[in-house]
Symmetry: C2
Subunit: 422 residues, 2 copies
């Protein structure tokens, strides 16, 4: 095979570099691409378990601690991995060197613990890649304006990889993970789930933010903005079985790319679900202008992410019920906010419910096809599933239902939208 | 007590920061000095055991590995400790921040794994110390000219502490360790060994290089050059029992200082011994001009540290025996060198002996007192101990003896030079 020389970023998560043997396996994956004539930058996470140990020490020292010190401690996990992987690459005859966030540098803002990448100067990396030296880059970390180490928050290595790929104008960014691609839905629920060969950025973004764990939302956003082609693939394949492949090849796994690259587009590409929802109902609130603002203003001020909202006229005609959903982790804070304004809006009672799930259908094809939502509602109605709330966007429809119907709903929708394999 | 405000460097080794509770204890030591009104920079090692684990991983990855990658891996140990100690100091109300080698920066040469500090800009540290912010500095590490992390070699945190003390013009550098000071000799051998209140740089340097483990040789050299007053003291004393003390106080432990500060100087201050010696004898070498150069030239070229040398005329009058000592770790390499040149110098046989020990008496007083060595030789003769070789310098006399006499010789000399306690 005569493949065009490509510049690749390869990203490996904590499980893929979990011990010495697995790091050796990662090195074989890298060698395969180098042998195929490509330029390679590798982005790695900390060895699985390491970060948890470091976080535990910081918490034991003091439950409330300086985020700058936390970042200095936690960033050591990736520092160890890049050193070990570089040693292994050299051992098997591949030229390589490690790069820490501050050495490149990967410049971020100063939001320690959850920093955002602002700028990466790719000049030095590009120069060394051209000499066929593999750049082994510590993911998850960067350098704040005050010269201190930052971390990007859990899962930030995906974001590091995409940002590096953009900075060095990589032809593709391969995200090696413990699944072999992006599926039409969760294969643990639907045995007939199909692996997608390609998916558009927009759809992947919705899938990630609606509960699919395969990629971090921020990394998909960044890939979309910079048009970085992302390949999601398994790190547990034998490295020599998977062929090195050039920028044009699709290869194994799933390619996340521009929709123009996807010729046969389904109307619905995937079904996502999220159990991380809490439903809050304010019973019998006075029905007068401005009441919604008086509820949702303070929630927004408290940085609580309100997702779905429904307002029903109450039986008596003079009051209304307001229902909304928030992430489960934010429920306690939301209740605190509501309790303070409850009397002021004449609210009789506040009900909460954790036994809800949000099920979503996602597809770029919805833009040009009518009746997509209707199929969803009909399918659920046929199974006797009551819809508690609905939200839509240009390429998705989400419904809130009782969580006991999760599997039933996802399976029925998967069949209804013709996604079942074989 | 009205103590003058002082600027202190406090150094804690791996055992002193071995776990969370010990790090809390270190923070109490620091708080004591801050409460006494002093400015404090703390230099810490990695938590005991951490460095060994990191080194083991690097070796498992590849026995021969890139020293630059090794340094990046191993330097994480200190990075974790500075973060944890800063968190603990903040928790107990002491303003503090961590500093990594590259942040200050501590500039070194590029001899990875055993780098030497070349320059530390103390400006930023001094400015922050003046605001009573404790500088928590990672020992053992620095920054090479090419922007990569270096380490100073095992025990390098002592050197870091002294270099920082010189850079910030500290009044004193306190080395907290697992012993409570410098003794006249090893207390495990001589029960009557006395703790010294003060010892001169020159004597400490000889003691360190002759086998006393309490301080790293390089750190004493650096302290002598920059006239940094070093206090060796125990980190296991209760932090509140030890009083904070100003620059003039001697405090607990042993002060390593300029000889001018030591009023009552003994002729001999201490007895050191080193079992890390190997004796090599080249039997019946041709006795003609240039033969010594033909032996010791190649050994020097191979970077082997030859210590003591004796040349005896042989019985037959036409040949000579050459005996010398090298560190045990270098014996195999020395034998390789000798084997290559053996035929060329007409050497009949090469004998080696590991059962030897070097015993040394050390004292600045020797400069102005005659007969010091004579007492040593007499004492050993009275005990029936044969001297195999002798070397001297201005302030020390060393003899090589059979290692079975180690304890006997050290005890006898300790008594002969009037060093016994009580």
């Amino acid at each position: 095979m005569e493949a065009k020389m490509a510049r690749l970023v390869m990203k490996f998560g904590g499980t893929s570099v979990g011990d010495i043997e697995r790091i050796r396996n990662v090195a074989q994956h890298v060698k395969r691409e180098i042998d195929a004539g490509h330029e390679v930058a590798v982005v790695v996470s900390a060895m699985a378990g390491t970060t948890n140990q470091l976080v535990a020490w910081a918490r034991e020292m003091a439950p409330l601690h300086d985020a700058r010190e936390y970042d200095a401690i936690v960033a050591t996990g990736e520092q160890v991995t890049v050193g070990l992987l570089s040693i292994e690459l050299q051992r098997i005859g591949v030229s390589a060197r490690s790069w820490l966030g501050w050495q490149i540098p990967i410049r971020t803002d100063n939001a320690h613990g959850a920093a955002r990448i602002q700028e990466i100067d790719g000049t030095a990396l590009i120069e060394r890649l051209a000499r066929k030296e593999v750049a082994v880059i510590a993911g998850f970390q960067g350098l704040a304006p005050d010269n201190r180490i930052t971390t990007l928050g859990r899962g930030g290595s995906d974001t590091s990889a995409v940002a590096v790929a953009a900075a060095i104008h990589a032809d593709r960014c391969d995200i090696y993970t413990d699944v072999d691609g992006v599926y039409t839905t969760d294969p643990r629920i639907v045995a007939k789930a199909r692996k997608l060969d390609k998916i558009s950025y927009e759809e992947m973004l919705e899938m990630a933010s609606l509960g699919a764990k395969v990629l971090q939302t921020r990394s998909v956003e960044l890939a979309m903005v910079h048009r970085v082609r992302l390949q999601v693939r398994s790190s547990f394949d034998a490295p020599d079985a998977a062929q090195g492949n050039g920028p044009e090849a699709t290869g194994p796994g799933t390619l996340v790319c521009d929709e123009d690259e996807i010729l046969e587009q389904q109307v619905v590409s995937g079904i996502a679900y999220s159990k991380d929802e809490a439903k809050v109902t304010l019973v019998k609130v006075e029905d007068k202008p401005g009441v919604a603002a008086r509820v949702f203003g303070p929630l927004a001020d408290a940085a609580i992410n309100v997702d779905m909202i429904i307002q029903n006229v109450s039986d008596d005609g003079r009051s209304t019920d307001i229902t909304f959903t928030v992430p489960q982790a934010e429920l306690t804070r939301a209740e605190d906010v509501i309790r303070k304004l409850q009397a002021g809006i004449g609210c009789k009672e506040v009900k909460t419910d954790l036994n809800v799930v949000k099920v979503s259908i996602i597809g770029i094809g919805m833009r040009s096809h009518a009746g997509v939502a209707k199929t969803m509602f009909q399918t659920l109605a046929e199974k006797g599933i009551n819809i508690l709330a609905i939200t839509t966007s240009e390429i998705k429809v989400s419904v809130l239902i009782s969580s006991e119907y999760t599997e039933l709903a996802v399976r029925a929708l998967h069949t209804a939208y013709d996604l079942d394999a074989g």
